[in-house]
Amino acid sequence: MPRGVRTVDRSSVALTVALLALAVLWLSPIAWVVVTSLKPAPDIIRLPPEWIPWPPTGAHYHEVLLGSSRTARIGRAFVNSLVVAMGSVILVLATSAMAAYPLARMRFPGRDLVFVLLVGSLMIPNAVLLVPQYVLTQRLGWLSTYQGLIVPEAAMIFAFGVFLLRQFFVTMPRELEDAALIDGAGPWQVFSRIIIPLSQPVLAALAIFAFRSAWNDFLWPLIAVNKPEMFPLPVALALLRSAYSSESYGPIMAGAALSALPLLVVFVVANRRIVEGVRLSGLKG
């Protein structure tokens, strides 16, 4: 049936072309951000829109990273966000891997209760905890500090991390553990020398998930930080907007492009891990 085969081919080619066109459209808002950030100020508002910034200028990047004293510096906010996101990743990985290990591989009273409590907490909306979390952080003297951002961000992800890692730990063959125990290894050695090294893919997926969550969170730092030099990127960007919106979108778009950079790098390097992490996150339903 040569004719039938050709129609199927043609429709699949048409579908691919349509999807490619949609993909270009889908990326155009991001392209527009980058294009705007590279244009000299007078060109930015010129119509019809110019999609190739030629000659490109780095002036807006220079301004938001180094020059401006009008708002929190984006360079400083970038570093703050990195510290908070990395700190939260480390705290999430350590606490949830340690908690998931006994939940997956030991028998002890209260195990099911702990697990149900953690999984049930995934249904708690973060916004509901906002006020008491603020009161608590204030009492601890942690407002406008790194720990005041890192610890709550990690707490938000912890239960999900336990759930994700437990799923993975449960499937590991018991013989590995038994062999080590016969050789006289304690539970900590089993955990650190066997379980953790064999779990690198799922740990990487969790790390990316936690990084994205802490890097992008807006509401908590908006209320927990009131010193400009401690603002993370989303808060600094929101303020940058009010500082510049009347004059030029250039610096705002430079800031927006910079904020997308770390996850773009992670995304290009570890695309499969991200997709895997999202796929696994769907299992919680």
Partner: protein
């Protein structure tokens, strides 16, 4: 206590401490605060029973916020279900699956502020490209975010753009779990593609659809960032949301922690009610 038990709880201790201090305690403390007149800086707070809750019954702006938030949640559910599903079905058949999946996923890696700023600029009523190209197509330019008729729909549009990639990946994984031979059997019986979509794909995707809807509902009822950046709750109160109302009550005007905690618990109750409803509607009989 056996040795095994001690070891297990030693491993659990750091995580449970984190969880107890920053999840469990705030949950209960919030409930307690909602029955008090607590404010920032007030030395002694008093138990005032349900006064914060009864006051919410008279707070018109709270009602508007709740209505807007519910409207947003319901109105965005269909696009959030359908757009990524349509893309997933198309990607599953077409070529360049991995590349296209990455493209559609990319916006989801951005923060809500970055997304908001990008769209604010795109939608600029005078010099933004969105209106320019619409004008070229014969659609008159308008301030999509300053018009009460279109503001919330514009927020929905930007959110669909932002999160589609996330749900797309989940749908693609769900589609892969459907056995191929079901489709082959259906094709042998002469079923059209459309018919096997309704008879095979949709029923077997039900757990995935349930996950997407419940996740979406929990997230939408907490709508804040998009509104904060794009409209500030305006025009008027047309896009004001519950979390924005709560944020302003607790952290902008008078720091009314008691009243804001009552709002939080009303919101929690609404979210729970919606989630239970979704479970009822979509769970059905999923044994196969």
């Amino acid at each position: 206590m056996s040795r095994q038990t001690r070891v297990a709880y030693a491993f659990l201790a750091p995580g449970l401490l984190l969880f107890a201090v920053y999840r469990l305690y705030p949950l209960l403390e919030g409930l307690r605060l909602s029955f008090t007149n607590a404010r920032l800086g007030r030395a002694s707070e008093q138990w005032i029973g349900f006064a914060n809750y009864t006051r919410l019954l008279e707070d018109d702006r709270f009602h508007v916020s709740l209505w807007n938030t519910a409207f947003y949640t319901v109105a965005s559910t269909l696009p959030i279900l359908a757009v990524p599903l349509a893309l997933a079905l198309a990607l599953n058949r077409g070529r360049l699956r991995t590349l296209l999946r990455s493209v559609f996923f990319f916006p989801f890696t951005l923060s809500v502020v970055t997304v908001g700023l990008a769209w604010l600029w795109l939608l600029d009523p005078v010099v933004g490209p969105f209106n320019y190209y619409l004008r070229r197509l014969g659609v008159p330019a308008r301030s999509w975010l300053a018009d009460p008729q279109t503001a919330m729909w514009t927020i929905i549009l930007t959110t669909v753009w932002w999160v589609t990639g996330y749900y797309l990946v989940i749908y693609l994984a769900g589609l892969q779990d459907i056995p191929r031979d079901l489709y082959e059997a259906a094709a042998l019986d002469g079923a059209s593609g459309w018919r096997s979509f309704w008879a095979i794909t949709l029923p077997l995707l039900r757990p995935v659809l349930l996950f997407v809807v419940v996740t979406h509902v929990i997230g939408s009822f907490q709508l804040f960032g998009q509104v904060f950046v794009l409209t500030g709750g305006g025009p008027g109160d047309a896009t004001r949301t519950v979390v924005q109302h709560l944020y302003e009550a607790a952290f902008q005007n008078f720091f009314q922690f008691g009243a804001a905690s009552a709002m939080a618990w009303v919101l929690f109750a609404v979210i729970l009610a919606f989630s239970v409803l979704q479970f009822r509607l979509l769970r059905g009989h999923t044994e196969y």
